[in-house]
Amino acid sequence: MRAFDYHRPATLKEAASLLRKNENARALSGGQSLIPALKLRLAAPAALVDLGAIEELRGIKLDGAVLTVGAMVRHSEVATSRDVAIGIPALARLAEDIGDRQVRNMGTLGGALANNDPAADYPAAVLGLGATIHTNKRAIAADKFFLGLYETALKRGEIITSVAFPLPKRAAYAKFANPASRFALVGVFVSEGAGSVRVAVTGAAPCVFRAKDMEKKLAANFAPDVLAKVRVPPDGLNSDIHASAEYRAHLITVMAKRAVAAAVAGK
């Protein structure tokens, strides 16, 4: 690791000011992606602003038709929260299957979204549910948040504070996990909400995206079989030692069908 200054502010305001003032500062949430990157010197920020002591970034709230999850809420908390189980059980199950127990006990929702790893699970849920990302400055719709490989709409000094998920009528996530890393080779989150169907795909491309052809078919008939012949073209999908773009394209249809079947079955 390269040397860095370390700050542990107690308030959001102080954290934002530290991030603004220090040009090469990075926010640290659970650190399950950032610390390995520091160790490999893939990241070498001049300062780390640890968000771990900021109380206002915690908490889960189910209020009417919206589930709000604080940015520093850990995956293990989402997986076991009663409010999440009642509001969006598919989100609890997704969280329960991120990484492994130790990672889920540290990693946070806000950290995962700000990092926007192309194979992360949470971006699929946030995009697939049409959630809103709240920051210390503004509210950003999921459709405008994920911009590219590890790239988001967040600006310098901007910190995710919470995510508001509208409650869907039904939803599910299906993931084909890389057997070694458990990251999504392809993960598909589907939801049927107030008058709209969303299908979000992670792991397959440099950034999470919506499969709009699938959404159209499902809007007419929310059943797995309508997706049988819908293929996302392999052009632009990831091709690596784990899977070719063609294989990932194939998996998207398979995972989408499984997700719809699970949503229909209420599983």
Binding site: A3, G31, Q32, I35, G52, S76, R101, Q102, N105, R182
Partner: protein, 156 residues
């Protein structure tokens, strides 16, 4: 730049002035001489460095010591009562849940949280629950048996 860090390790309050780069596992092993917590892969994959942070199993090679400010840390050294092995440790011995033993401290620390959440775990639950811990000797069968026996013994 030194940072003053205070935490409780195995029930004992400790304070140190640390370079912020110090990993929690480094702090435990090199500053506290608690070498039961192992460094296996040093990349957050193998789980040999698993300790409890405020009751949660975490990988100490993937956490900065400064992130544990004010936390309660439990390491494998704090698991046994006096000179008596914890039932989970005894179960690993009785069921040959280890060969070289390098992964064992991490396996035990993970198993303790697993059993707290699932007091009567099935084989499937144990295998899924130990996902974050690698063993290169045993083939896992005896580890699974040990965790099941340890869980039963902990109920007594």
């Amino acid at each position: 730049m030194g940072i003053t860090v205070s935490m409780t390790v195995n029930g004992q309050a400790v304070t140190a002035e640390l370079d912020p780069r110090t990993l929690l596992v480094q702090f435990l092993r090199e500053y506290r001489q608690l070498t039961g917590t192992h460094v296996g892969c040093d990349t957050g994959q193998c789980g040999a460095c698993t300790v409890h942070l405020d009751g949660r199993a975490v990988k100490a090679c993937n956490i900065l010591a400064v992130q544990a400010q004010g936390a309660q840390i439990l390491t494998i050294e704090g698991v046994a009562a006096n000179s008596e092995l914890h039932p989970m440790q005894a179960a690993f011995r009785d069921h040959h849940g280890l060969q070289c033993g390098f992964c064992t401290p991490g396996m035990v620390m993970n198993a303790l949280e697993l059993v707290r959440k699932h007091p009567d775990p099935s084989e499937e639950t144990i295998r899924a629950g130990l996902d974050g811990n690698l063993c290169r000797c045993t083939g896992y069968h005896n580890i699974v048996k040990a965790v099941q026996a340890g869980a039963a013994a902990m109920k007594r």
